[in-house]
């Protein structure tokens, strides 16, 4: 009963499409509310406002995830709750996109408008999707978003620093079958000006060089909706070519480093949903090709990886108060690179048994037990145990608590990179606990307010690090432990009065991520904040819509990030804001949206990674024409 209340409560919130924290929960989202865990959703409406940004920039300003970025178009990797990029899983409709080589994913190359929703699972809530996401999982959704027989959207845009982009989307079908096609092209010189205060004793104004990026993507989806069954086929091709600018502490290279990325992703999934239970099967193939060239250094690196994923799950409600679920996930990775001694393959299989119970109207609980098989080696099982309390049956207030153990197997680079890879590495182990208080208040009909606050603590043991070994080259070793703990707080207000709609979302996260004393070597900086993990992050977005006009103002604060283990050198904090103004003209079957965005409105000079300046104030003009029948 409690479980059904839990689900019904969430469903009712969903159907009302209200704002929940940073979450914009809407009908059709694939977000799963795992009992006892925090999960949020960024919907297509917010993605549309920020369609000129990358997913990395979007998350940086609209979530509690820290994005470590080398600048506009440069590598951008996510991390949250004081963990590293390798501890964040990035998925596409539940299929992991993390490179089996590096173990991380670059979010800089996907435009926000190309995705239909972003689901964020915090901490061990990620175990419902995948293993190894100590920080969490970012799940990128692509799905049909319309029931129209025919819909066509074209969205060109132009912006500062030689930015051009174009996005087209076509959707057609009926309630039985639906096709969605999307494509984008993007090109940017990124030759923004910045102040160089490191080349000379006095500041110099310069333009960023060797910073060009061009990318393209294409997605085709086909969905077949049958009674109680859904069959989906998806294909995603993406390519990017970019120059890699030097850090400003180095002279500009006459022959810059370059990188080309190309990815093919395909999946077929089948879901069966009956009263007696749910069943799902997914088969996916993800192929990545990365070419890195450094001509002066005579480095020509070719890296190809392929990952075949098979997923299956069956969930059955076995009694009024108990449901059981079994999931099998198999991931076969194949890597060919001139950086390993030959090709490498690896298989990781996981079997999950999940039990959910709701014995009382105010209480529900979930237990997940996971067994991992790494090639032919059986690993110590992982688990998560989570509970949820609803102290007042007449209020949408929830207390969530969880404990968990999660494992991350070493990346293939950690194991096989030549030189220095270490095939004998142990898994990293993460144990975590978290507590969330979640309140939604319906103050008056159109005035709603939601607050949530979470305290968390993660303990990562056998952390894999690269350090110089005995023969003058670096090698991967299990070294040391890390404790990260912190508080996340979110506030969301929505208010409607006649034609005026007002939304305000704010989030704040305080993270302490420190080395734990494990051996004599790092004992002296025990307790210091880890490098590049900000202690404080905050953001808020204010959105107002009046008749056919809309506006949004957002601000993002990132605290200081230390650059050295003893915290003696750091990057100062930064505060950046952006504004978006738009208007919409609608006809019977046509609509035209025009919007202008100004990012870094107050022209703040800041760096996300030392010696890689970020762009100052920049403008982007976007026009979206839509035909809908």
């Amino acid at each position: 009963m409690a479980l059904s209340l839990h689900l019904k409560g969430q469903d009712s919130l969903r159907n009302d499409a209200i704002l929940i924290g940073e979450v914009r929960v809407r009908a059709g989202s694939d977000l799963r509310d795992y009992i006892g865990f925090k999960s949020t959703h960024i919907d297509s409406a917010l993605l549309a406002v920020h369609n000129h940004l990358s997913i990395a920039d979007l998350l940086s300003g609209n979530s509690m995830i820290h994005i470590k970025s080398y600048g506009s178009g440069g590598l951008a990797t996510p991390s949250f709750r004081g963990t590293g990029p390798g501890h964040t899983q990035v998925c596409w409709n539940d299929i992991s996109l993390n490179s089996p080589m590096l173990g991380q994913f670059d979010l800089s190359l996907i435009p926000a408008g190309f995705i239909d929703g972003v689901n964020i699972y915090y901490g061990a809530g990620s175990m419902g999707i995948n293993s190894g996401g100590f920080g969490g999982v970012i799940d990128l959704e692509t799905r049909p978003s319309s029931d129209s027989p025919a819909e066509f959207t074209v969205n060109p845009g132009v912006g500062s620093y030689g930015r051009f982009s174009g996005l087209v989307r076509a959707s057609t079908g009926n309630e039985r079958i639906r096709s969605v096609t999307k494509a984008f092209l993007s090109d940017a010189k990124n030759d923004f000006s910045y102040v160089d205060n490191v080349s000379e004793a006095y500041p110099l104004k310069k333009s960023r060089e060797n910073n060009e990026v061009s990318s393209a993507g294409f997605i085709q989806e086909l969905h077949l909706f049958l009674p109680q069954n859904t069959l989906s086929a998806r294909f995603w091709y993406q390519s990017a070519s970019r120059k890699l600018p030097s850090p400003i502490i180095s002279p500009t290279a006459s022959q810059p480093e370059t990188q080309s990325d190309e990815s093919f992703r395909a999946m077929i999934s089948w879901n069966n949903d009956r009263k007696s239970g749910e069943m799902g099967l997914t088969a996916a193939f993800v192929s990545d090709r990365l070419l890195y060239d450094n001509k002066p250094a005579s480095v020509h690196s070719i890296n190809k990886s392929g990952k075949i994923t098979l997923k299956g799950n069956y969930k059955k409600r076995v009694s009024e108060i108990l449901s059981m679920e079994a999931s099998l996930n198999d991931e076969l990775s194949l890597v060919t690179t001139n950086n390993y001694d030959g090709s490498i393959s690896r298989n990781l299989a996981t079997l999950d048994i999940v039990s959910e119970t709701d014995p009382a109207s105010w209480f529900s609980a979930r237990l997940l037990i996971r067994e991992l098989l790494h090639n032919d080696k059986l690993l110590t099982p992982d688990f998560s145990l989570s509970t949820e309390f609803r102290p007042f049956s007449y209020k949408y207030w929830f207390l969530k608590a969880s404990v968990s153990k999660n494992s991350r197997i070493p990346t293939l680079n950690d194991m096989y990179w030549s030189p220095g890879g270490n095939p004998d590495l142990k898994n990293e182990t993460g144990t975590a606990a978290e507590l969330t208080w979640d309140m939604t208040n319906f103050i008056t009909g159109p005035f709603r307010l939601k607050n949530d606050i979470t305290v968390f603590r993660n303990n990562i043991d056998d952390l894999i690090q690269w350090r110089p070994g005995s023969y003058s080259y670096w090698e991967a070793v299990n070294l040391g432990s890390v404790i990260s703990s912190g508080i996340e707080a979110g506030t969301a207000i929505s208010y409607s009065f006649r034609n005026l709609h007002f939304n305000f979302d704010a989030g704040y996260v305080h993270t302490r991520a420190v080395a734990k004393e494990k051996n004599a070597e790092n004992a002296s900086f025990k307790g210091y904040q880890l490098t590049y993990i900000p202690e404080n992050q905050m953001n808020f977005v204010l959105r107002i819509k009046w008749k056919k006009f809309s506006g949004a103002f957002n601000t993002e604060y990132t605290g200081r990030r230390y650059l050295t283990a003893d915290n003696s050198v750091y990057l100062p904090h930064y505060l950046i804001s952006g504004i978006n103004l738009g208007t919409r003209m609608e006809g019977t079957n046509h609509s035209l949206d025009i919007s202008i965005s100004v990012d870094n409105l107050f022209d703040a000079a800041y760096q996300n990674i030392a010696y890689y300046p970020m762009p100052g104030r920049n403008i982007y003009l976007s026009v979206t024409y839509q035909f809908k029948k």
């Binding site: 205060n197 490191v198 080349s199 000379e200 004793a201 030097s246 850090p247 502490i249 180095s250 002279p251 290279a253 006459s254 450094n294 002066p296 250094a297 005579s298 480095v299 030189p419 309140m439 208040n441 307010l449 607050n451 606050i453 350090r467 110089p468 005995s470 023969y471 003058s472 080259y473 070294l479 707080a489 506030t491 704010a506 989030g507 704040y508 305080h510 004599a520 070597e521 790092n522 002296s524 900086f525 404080n536 905050m538 808020f540 604060y557 605290g559 200081r560 650059l563 050295t564 283990a565 003893d566 003696s568 050198v569 750091y570 100062p572 904090h573 505060l575 030392a610 010696y611």
Partner: protein, 353 residues
């Protein structure tokens, strides 16, 4: 509602409290100490982090001063400062991953020039008062530096990468370290390769002794498929005259140095080892055991014979410089910066073989 208000305003209050921020604190420097005798220590910093620096140990104050370049010039030095050379009262700091050479006053560390257009510079050798050669970890040629204009002016193609370099009055000897096994002989008048000598695998470091014999330490390569070797070459005939092979294939000696008399060789191999240039075999005993340390780089003060060794600890936090007497007695230790590496000894009467 009070709770709700509190939750609303906490982020804003925290934001306001976080706005004030100051610049990073840099260790202070009493610049007058730079005038005296001392040791420059290249702190490599973390790769691609741009936090390399130079420390200076002063014999006059018996203290170490960190970040002396930054302090003198109010700007960071760069990414992976690797080595240094002295010429005409100027210090040439080779900043490996910043692809540049910073030229600074030897007694002030005040910048004089920045030499660009060098790829991954490793070591410099001043072959005349007007010209220097710079080796490169990645480039397949040797860079020629014009010391009068402080610019890179030409190349000497090697078709190999290069590491250590040592010069006599007529030739420069360049080791092809990474994956190589050759020593190239360069005519310093014509800037031409005149000869090449096959030595052991991965010649890592070289010195010239009092008899003008070139000693080459070959560490055998990281894959441990070859034995490490110490090779002696007569620089008058360019012929190999001695060859010592290390006993175990796992032996990986590094950092060959020579004392101020040119009589004793030093290298790191499970500690500091010393060898007379006339010895008939490799030393079996360790002069300075590593004990609880992990020796990373070594330098021998040519003026007083003191032995300096660095321990980079975990390569993340600040490393340590250890100072020993010529006989191996511990004298003092000092904290440098991140990954203290090569060391260069300063005196008004700087000398080299």
């Amino acid at each position: 509602m009070n709770t709700i208000k509190l939750l609303l305003f906490v982020p804003l209050v925290l934001l306001a409290s976080c706005i004030k921020e100051t610049d990073p604190v840099v260790t202070g420097l009493e610049r007058t100490w730079l005038l005296g005798n001392g040791v420059f220590i290249m702190n490599e910093g973390n790769f691609r982090s741009g936090n390399g620096s130079v420390s200076f140990f002063s014999y006059d104050s018996m203290k170490i001063y960190n970040s002396v370049f930054r302090e003198a010039n109010d700007r960071p030095l760069g990414d992976v400062p690797y080595s240094m050379g002295f010429s005409d009262n100027k210090a040439y700091i080779l900043v490996n991953n910043s692809n540049k050479i910073e030229v600074a006053g030897i007694n002030t560390m005040k910048t004089v020039a920045t030499i660009g257009k060098v790829v991954s510079p490793r070591y410099i050798s001043f072959v005349s008062g007007k010209k220097a050669y710079v080796t490169s970890l990645y480039s397949d040629s040797l860079r020629i530096i014009d010391l009068l204009s402080e610019t890179a002016t030409g190349y000497i193609p090697l078709k190999h990468t290069s590491e250590s370099i040592a010069s006599t009055s007529s030739n420069a000897y360049v080791a092809s370290w990474s994956g190589g096994n050759s020593i190239f002989v360069i005519d310093i008048i014509n800037d031409k390769v005149t000869d090449s000598l096959e030595v052991g695998v991965e010649p890592e470091s070289m010195v010239i002794d009092r008899n003008k014999t070139l000693w080459v330490l070959c560490n055998g390569g990281w894959k441990r498929e070859h034995y490490a070797e110490l090779v002696a070459i007569n620089t008058f005939t360019n012929a190999i005259i001695k060859r010592f092979t290390f006993p175990l294939i796992s032996d990986s000696p590094t950092c060959l140095q020579i004392d101020g008399t040119g009589q004793y060789l030093y290298y790191l191999h499970d500690g500091v080892r010393r060898m007379d240039i006339n010895a008939a075999s490799l030393p079996s005993a360790v002069l300075i055991p590593q004990s609880a340390y992990f020796f990373y780089r070594m330098g021998i003060n040519p003026y007083n014979g003191e032995i300096f060794v660095t321990d980079a600890r975990d390569y993340i936090q600040k490393g340590v410089v250890l100072r020993y007497s010529p006989t191996g007695d511990f004298l003092s230790s000092m904290e440098a910066d991140i990954i203290p590496g090569n060391m260069f000894f300063k005196s008004a009467t700087y000398k080299s073989y």
